[in-house]
């Protein structure tokens, strides 16, 4: 990677750590975790290192509105906007969890103009593992 050697003066200015984060990645993976109460959209590179993330909560929704499909749509849109500025063209989508945000986030991703390779569902499925919490008595 062609990174300019910092001069003595700029070293005194403190961190140049922000320089490292602008790496151009043409291909990445978009993880969408759609639970019943919230939707989190994380954009990583192919190895899994996170580039940026956004969720319905960070987009300003609170409480029950975070779980709605519209909130998922805005979260996906916000996550992808930061990433297309960095120059990502192709992506894979990994969707996890039940929830209303699945389809809405997928729609938003598709509409944002990013090219998709695969859409995968990676909901974790135990082969009858741990005991789930007890039933709610509402």
């Amino acid at each position: 990677m062609a990174k300019p050697i910092p001069k003595m003066g700029s070293r005194k200015n403190g961190r140049i750590g922000s320089r490292k984060h602008t790496r151009k990645i043409p291909k990445g993976v978009i993880h969408v975790q759609a639970s019943f109460n919230n939707t989190i959209v994380t954009v990583t590179d192919v190895q899994g290192r996170v580039i940026s993330w956004s969720s319905a909560g960070t987009c300003g929704f609170k409480g029950t509105r975070r779980g709605t499909p519209f909130a998922a749509q805005t979260a996906a849109g916000s996550a992808i906007r930061t990433v297309t500025d960095q120059g990502m063209q192709r992506a894979e989508v990994m969707i996890k969890g039940p929830g209303l945000g699945r389809d809405a986030a997928l729609r938003a991703i598709r509409r944002s103009g990013i090219l998709l390779n695969f859409i995968r569902d990676v909901t974790p499925m135990p082969h009858n593992g741990c005991r789930s919490p007890k039933k709610r008595r509402v």
């Binding site: 990994m94 039940p98 389809d103 997928l106 695969f118 859409i119 569902d121 499925m125 789930s132 919490p133």
Partner: protein, 165 residues
């Protein structure tokens, strides 16, 4: 060619080109074992081994050595997944979403999630299984008896009313 595949990964796989590596006799727990891979090709894979798409002869061999390998007839990617939809170029948004939704429905992901959300005791499980069995059988054999009885009842009463009038 558009292909959408559903995969259930059950076992760890082994390279068919390495005969001295015999798989363990009992079924080992799968997948999330951070054991270092024995291959040099893809060092980033945290899996035990990787399964390559077989030719016809090696598939027979692999199904003999490890029977559950017969299920895995597609490429195994880095992370296990239940549903995969391959996106073609210029596919309309609605069609893509519908295709994904249909695949997920076929795989029963959301149903399964909802079932495992809270614990169900044996009673609940039995009830659920009978309900599912009834639904499955109802689709194949539409129930004729109750419907026929209703039809017999209705024309009988109608005839009586007509005769009265």
């Amino acid at each position: 060619m558009a292909a959408s595949s559903t995969i259930n990964n059950f076992l760890s796989f082994f390279l068919p080109t390495k005969p001295p590596q015999l798989p363990p006799l009992q079924t080992p727990p799968l997948q999330f074992n951070p054991v270092a891979s024995s291959q040099s090709q893809k060092p980033s894979q945290p899996l035990i081994a990787q399964y390559e798409p077989p030719s016809s002869s090696s598939s027979e061999l692999s199904s003999v050595i490890c029977p559950s390998l017969a299920y895995a007839n597609t490429l195994f990617f880095r992370s296990p997944y239940t549903v995969q939809v391959v996106v073609e170029e210029d596919e309309p948004e609605e069609r893509l979403v519908n295709r994904f939704r249909r695949e997920v429905l076929r795989a029963g992901v959301i149903q399964e999630c909802r079932r495992r959300r809270y614990f169900e005791n044996k009673q609940e499980e039995k009830k659920r299984k009978t309900r599912e069995a009834a639904k499955r059988n109802r689709r194949r054999r539409p129930m004729l008896k109750p419907v026929a009885q209703k039809k017999l009842d209705v024309p009988a009463t109608k005839k009586e009313e007509d005769e009265d009038n």
